[in-house]
């Protein structure tokens, strides 16, 4: 990039990677930026690679469903990797995710062992969000 006009050639997309590992055979739904990525029972680890808009807010939502605690106590989803543009968001930013579940256990985690939704909200363009959550100080507008 030699000057400002070269910005026109910049790909405004974020590369997104999510790796989930099942414990037992959890039933899961995956919502990334309002798009559904599969669903149903998870038998093996999966990896989702896609692109997101760098200039728009988005949400990542994982839901564990229909777990019967008496029968499959060890059922869970582990977020092995959540990366945007190669930047690891888990476990560093676990604490920013909202985890609403049927046990009211809201401790920061990437181990989803309860029926409920784990949601990470990027409420502004990703790099503005990163600026804020990594304590980079003022953000003038």
């Amino acid at each position: 990039m030699k000057n400002y006009s070269d910005l026109l050639a910049i790909d405004p997309r974020l590369s997104f990677c999510l790796e989930l590992e099942p414990v037992g055979n959890p039933e899961v739904s995956i919502l990334i930026d309002k798009n559904i990525y599969g669903g149903g029972k998870l038998f093996n680890s999966i990896s989702i690679n896609t692109h997101l808009n760098a200039l728009m807010p988005f949400e990542i939502q994982l839901e564990l469903k229909n777990k019967i605690y008496d029968v499959n106590n060890e059922t869970a989803i582990i977020i092995r990797c959540l990366q945007i543009d190669g930047i690891d968001l888990v476990p560093k930013f676990d604490y920013l995710a909202q985890y609403h579940n049927d046990h009211n256990n809201n401790d920061p985690t990437s181990y989803l062992g309860f029926n409920g939704k784990w949601t990470l909200t990027i409420d502004r363009p990703f790099y503005q969000w990163l600026h804020q959550v990594t304590g980079q100080g003022w953000l003038l507008s």
């Binding site: 910049i10 790099y127 304590g135 003038l140």
Partner: protein
Amino acid sequence: MNFKKTFCSSPWFHIRLNNTGTYEPCRWQSGPNKKEFDPINNISNISPLTYFQNHMSQFRSDMLSGKKSLICNDCYIMEEHGKVSGRQRQLLKSGIQEQYFEKSLISSPMKPSFDYSFANNGKTDHFITDWQIDLGNYCNSNCVFCGPKNSSRLATEYKQLGLINELPPANWCDNEELVKAFVEDLKTIPDMQYLHFIGGETLITPAFKKILTELAEADLAKNIVVGFTTNLTVWQQSMIDLLAQFKQINLGMSVETLTPINDYVRYPSQISQVQELLDRWVDAGRQHDWLMQLRTTPTCLTLHELTTVYDYAWKHDLSVESCNFLDRPEYMRISVLPIEYRNKIKQEISTWLEQHVADSQTKVINTRDPNVSRSQLVQDVQSYLNYLSNTQDESHRLPDLIKYLKLIESNRGNSILTYLPQYEELFRSAGY
């Protein structure tokens, strides 16, 4: 040169008002094009906003064209040696991080302002949110690396010694009408966020108190962050109370070492008093939750004991910052030290680095963040090791240094050898 290495967002939100009332585009500006006094781009002639929005257009255009600017040279040098530059700090304020340059630039909240300037020959409709206000040279110190433009006492001494014929031009803020008009400007410019004041010694400069008082009386203090630097020779409880009314204070405390050489370099301060006031200011800062930094100007006379400042900062979770690697006076540059003397300091710095391990290895650009102060310290000390290793030998300037020291000592009645006996052989060989 790569755009990533030259672009700076500062011209979209910052200006400097220097001692003569002349506007400058940047607080870190250096180089041959720097005008100490400009009657056109001056507070007595045009408003700050006119200068910023229109007269800085060419600078912004050059920035967008990817041109390497001479006035940005100090920043390029700092980056070369791993020190955090003004450019990097200013980029960060607009959300642009060097390691994610392109993506963070297109995501920047200031992108529409860059686009506007790109389409309008560098003009901007943005306002000045970040100011540096130079309050003149009214000062009670005669620091050896300073100059008449920044110290009234040094100006008087220089004139007595025949080093200058004329005293520097009058300070803009000695003119009460200009100060009054400036405060009125500040009150009306939207979105003002940061005012950084430097002296002289800010705390004894009447305009400092006057400007802050008027802003507080206009009920603007709660929205404004104030930064200033003090030379740790002054304590005024009334100023603490006034400062406490502002949204946030960024307090800079100038000290070179916490050893007696500080007395020689920051003449006529006394290290016992400096240390006492340093502790008091740090206590006051803690009480009011201010961001605090120790401010240094390392020279060939102090670098060997610079780590005493970092020790204090480490102990108190403060950061340390210097504006640049000192360039002028040339004979006080760190690179004036011959290789064998540098090697000894390098060894001491290396030992300090071995003994002080930071939690994070990530580069700290937001050097005011108290949560990463120790990482910042390690990073900054490392930059001196890099500088000592990589800059060329300028020991040919030693005779100029000695000539200068002998001259000022003739007036002050002190001797550098009292403070630096280990440099006697070196200084004698250069004419001491």
